[in-house]
Amino acid sequence: METAPSIRELFRGFFIIGMSGFGGALPHARSLIVDRRGWMTQAEFAEMLGLCQILPGPNMVNLAVVIGRRFQGAPGAVVAFIGLLAVPIVVVITLGLAYRTADLSPAVRGAMAGVAAAAAGLMLGTGLRIASPAARRPAQLAIVVLAFVLLAVLHLPLITVLAIAIPASLVAQRIDPA
């Protein structure tokens, strides 16, 4: 089932993820790595993402480094980092230079609003897929709900959410072991 990508495939994969990352790159990363290329299982992807979330730094960049390293060591980490970021940085700089004079038409503004709405939907779908194994386990489902409420309803800083939800999840595991 799992097929370890070569250096070239890592570069190509993260290049595609970077170039697709409108409204956030994470949904594209999960779709490509788990669904379309089968580099790793859903569970392994969630584990790597969890590791990247407790580490400082942008999650998606950390994820590229960690997944690149997992398959091809240091060279893999470097090509995944460059593949993800090199062209988007050039595009963002170009947009930034153009933006000073740009006057956006209503149709462009509408398209941007449509993309923002869809990007939110992609992020929701990605979260639901990652959370789905918890649906059959009440103690785990409670942790999904807890993390959601702390961040989306109470608007606590993410570091506070992690400091509450991870210990709570360890306790939940004691109560309801797999």
């Binding site: 170039m19 697709s20 990352g21 956030g24 994470l26 779709s31 379309r36 969630a46 584990e47 590791l51 990247c52 407790i54 400082p56 730094g57 942008p58 998606m60 960049v61 480094v65 960690v66 390293r69 970021l85 988007p88 963002v92 700089i93 933006y99 149709a107 398209a111 941007m112 609003a113 449509g114 993309v115 923002a116 709405a117 869809a118 939907g121 992609l122 992020m123 779908g125 990605t126 979260g127 639901l128 897929r129 990652i130 194994p133 918890a134 785990q140 489902l141 942790i143 999904v144 709900v145 993390a147 959601f148 989306a152 993410l158 959410v161 939800a165 991870i166 360890l170 939940a172 595991q173």
Partner: protein
């Protein structure tokens, strides 16, 4: 040169505080950029919207701040400060994590992280949806894209393109 060094160092410090991801330091970043007289809060918000509509991770908002402060060298210095040291740290941590593969505490930690990560990503999607909502059509777009991405393995790019087309004519 001093300014470029300052950009790199200030964004490195910020990246080390970004436990949980880049989004966690956005409020701090906005405050720092305003306090230094680099970028005012309104411009900051428009920069962030611009990176959302551009390819790549949204953390590239730092590239735009650097660009505004010191041109292209500034853009590169700010990006390197934000992205390189935290990546080196992630590499080291992943090596450590791999060394303890299949130890009992690691399996426990990984299993405990999964529902937390799931809840956090759903929450992030909800916050994005709140920010993007402007009437019933945008809510329908968000909900149908979420449904399609859970139920199918369609490339998300097609969903974004369809939504861009719908938005151009109807939003």
């Amino acid at each position: 040169m001093i300014l470029l060094g300052e950009l790199a160092v200030r964004f490195t410090v910020l990246s080390m505080l970004a436990v949980g991801g880049g989004a966690t330091v956005l409020p701090d970043m906005q405050r720092m950029a305003a306090a230094e007289g680099w970028v005012d809060p309104v411009t900051f918000a428009s920069f962030y919207a611009l990176t959302q509509c551009a390819p790549g991770p949204n953390i590239l908002v730092v590239t735009l701040i650097g660009l505004k402060v010191a041109g292209i060298p500034g853009a590169l210095a700010a990006s390197a400060g934000m992205l390189v040291p935290s990546s080196i740290l992630a590499y080291g941590a992943a090596s450590g994590w791999a060394r303890f593969r299949d130890s009992a505490w690691q399996r426990m930690t990984a299993a405990a992280l999964m529902p937390v990560v799931g809840g956090l990503v759903v929450a992030a999607g909800t916050l994005l949806a709140e920010a993007a909502a402007r009437g019933w059509l945008s809510i329908v777009i968000t909900a149908s894209v979420a449904g399609a991405s859970v139920l199918t393995r369609v490339n998300p790019l097609w969903l974004l393109l369809t939504a861009a087309g719908l938005g151009a004519v109807a939003l």
